[in-house]
Every structure is written in C-alpha cells, then in structure tokens.
Amino acid sequence: MYVARSPRIAARMLGEEMLVMSGHDSTLFTLNPTATILWQAADGATPLDEIVERRICTEFEVKPEDAMRDAEELAENLAKHGILLISEQPIVKPDAPVRGQR
C-alpha cells in the first residue's frame, strides 16, 4: 500500500500539533503524533510498510505487525476524511500544490 498527502488539504505544524484543514469543506482536524508521522512521510512513493518500519517502529515501542495493522487502519481513516490518498501503486505527483500553496 502507498499513501500520499492529499493536495486538497492545507496543513501546518503549530507548536507540537499538526493541524490540517479540508479544502473541500474547511473541516479542521488535529493529527495525533502517529498520524503526524504518517502524514509527513506520505510521499506517494514510499510503501506504507517501509514508513511503519523506519518511522513509526523507531519512534514508538510497538511490534511491527501491530504497528502495520494500526497504520493501515489509520491510513484508511485519514483517507475517508480526504486527508490521505491510498493506492496499491505508487502515487505520482500527489503533492501537486493548490495554487498559492507553500
């Protein structure tokens, strides 16, 4: 599974928290630390299992298989809200910015 940040989302780290806002309906979300790591690593090219192994398992004391199961569930939840894109193939140019995006 590959994950990519949705280009229709505005995001910003404020203090220690990642705030993301849907460009579709301006709903505001606050990501927890695991979701923040997943969001930041979701470049569309790195497989989810590699993100889990390199970024999540190194950050939290968790078994790789548990972390992978949780990460898949989290990615699907974020995708339901339009925050992440999910695909079985690498996602090309997922970060094509909305005009004006930094």
Partner: protein
C-alpha cells in the same frame, strides 16, 4: 416605420437618460465604488456607511448594483460562494452577485435593502484580504494607547459586552467583525461598519494589532497564556469562511496560522464590569 439609424439614435437617447450614481465605501483602506441608478438607494448607502464613505476619488474596485423588486427570499438562507473560470459567484436567498478579481469589478442583483449589499461587501473583502494574508474575524476590537486589541469569540462570548465596557480612552473598531490586514511582519486592525448587537459603527481608524484575546466569561478577571495550536484552532473557528474553494481555504488557513505565530494570543476571562479594561492596554 423607423429606419435603423433612427432606432440607434433613439436607443442612445434613452441610455443617456439613465442617471448613474456612485459612492466610494472604503473599509480596511480598500475603496470600493458602488454604482447604482437609484438615488434613494445611494442615499441609504451614504447613511448606512457614514464614516466609511470616501471622497478622495480613489477606487480599487467597482461594484454595480442592479436593483430588483423585493422577492421575499430569506436572508437566513445559506450563502454559496464558488469560483468558476476565475470569477466568483456569490449567492444567497436575497441576492446573486458576481465578482471578477482580474477585472476588479463585480455586480449584484438585489432588492433595495441594506442587508444584501452588506453581506456582499463582507464576502468581497474576505476574498480580497485572503490574497494578502488578511482576514475578517468574529471579534470585537478597539484601539488603546496606539495599539489594537482583538476580542474573539462566538456569539454570546462577550464581544458586545466588552465593547460596551470600553473606557473613554479606547476607540472602538467594531463589536462584531474585525478587519485584519497583514502589513510587513505584523498585522493592522481596521474599524468596520459591520456592527453587532451594539448597533454602533466602528471608527474608521487603524492600529497595529498587539494582542488577540480569546473571550471567556468567568468569576474573575484574568489573562492566561494560550498554546499556539489552541490559538490556531480557536482563531480558525472565528474566521469568516464563505468560499467553497480549496485555494481560498488554503489561504485563510495559512493566514490564521501565520497570525498566531506572530501575534500574542491570550485567554481573557472576565466578569462583566469596567475593571476588566484595567488589564488591557
């Protein structure tokens, strides 16, 4: 039977008989010329926006008002603001408007009432401000000692109350909708005619923003720090979002985040009474 030439001349003659009237309404230092063919509507605008009418002859935008018969449509209907081919379409039960940022011109179809054009002006200003990192926000604001203080909160949080309690040396900018423009590394708050329950227009003056207070009423007057993320969430909850447009949402979001990163944000808990102003300024 008239010749084609005569018809053209007659049409031109009719066209010249239609008088056009204009008034320049400068809110937030942005002069918008409103054009109408109805003298009484013009007079209503001049009265409604007294203090914000500019006679300097400078305009940045034009807004043409096409008055229609009252439709009885609801002002409480939801506002729709969408972008199509570079033009904004603004719609509510009581008006339909278009806004072309590239042409710096827009038009409104509405009946002769002050509420429709007031709503359109608020929307147009949010679109204009978003281009430059500014925003309109549900907040009272006032100038004291040369600095502007914003008091944000949802309905019932105390915006009108804090405005009513303002001492004589404070200049009220608004009791309802604050106008915030980015200027250099800071922000400037401007007075607006967008009033709330206080029913008093703000003064048409401006000052650098010193603090944004998030209002809460409680058993004592106190000021507490607010974390940046909480400040961002609460500010975003009070910024006026009209447009269903990813680019606009993105700009407004970044503007709010930039603001809380640069301007102190505090929680102001207060007992309704004049002593709260001892903490401000």
């Amino acid at each position: 039977m008239t010749s084609l030439g005569t018809q053209v001349l007659a049409t031109q003659a009719l066209a010249t008989q239609v008088e056009s009237y204009s008034v320049v309404i400068a809110i937030g230092g942005v002069p918008v010329r409103v054009n109408t063919t109805d003298a009484s509507f013009l007079e209503m605008l001049q009265n409604r926006y007294a203090g914000f009418v500019s006679d300097e002859g400078i305009t940045e935008f034009d807004l043409d008002v096409d008055l229609t018969a009252p439709s009885g449509m609801e002002r409480d209907a939801p506002v729709r603001v969408i972008q199509s081919a570079g033009r904004w379409l603004l719609e509510r039960g009581d008006f339909r408007a278009e806004w072309d940022p590239a042409m710096r011109r827009g038009s409104i179809r509405q009946s002769a009432n002050p509420y429709s054009i007031d709503a359109v002006l608020r929307i147009v200003h949010t679109l204009v401000l978003a281009e430059s990192g500014g925003f309109l926000v549900h907040s009272a604001s006032a100038i004291r000692n040369g600095k502007a203080f914003l008091f944000a909160g949802v309905s019932g949080a105390g915006k009108t109350t804090i405005s009513r309690l303002a001492p004589a040396d404070a200049t009220l900018l608004t009791d309802e909708i604050s106008y915030v423009r980015k200027q250099g590394d800071g922000y400037v708050a401007y007075g607006t005619p967008f009033n709330g329950e206080f029913a008093k227009l703000g003064e048409n003056v401006s000052a650098p923003v010193a603090v944004l207070y998030l209002l809460a009423q409680g058993p004592e007057n106190r000021i507490d720090p607010v974390g940046e993320a909480d400040a961002g969430r609460e500010l975003l909850g009070n910024i006026l979002f009209f447009a269903e447009d990813p680019e606009f949402v993105h700009r407004a979001f970044q503007a709010a985040c930039d603001f809380v990163h640069r301007v102190p944000v505090r929680r102001l808990t207060f007992v309704p009474g004049v002593r709260v102003w001892e903490l401000i300024g």
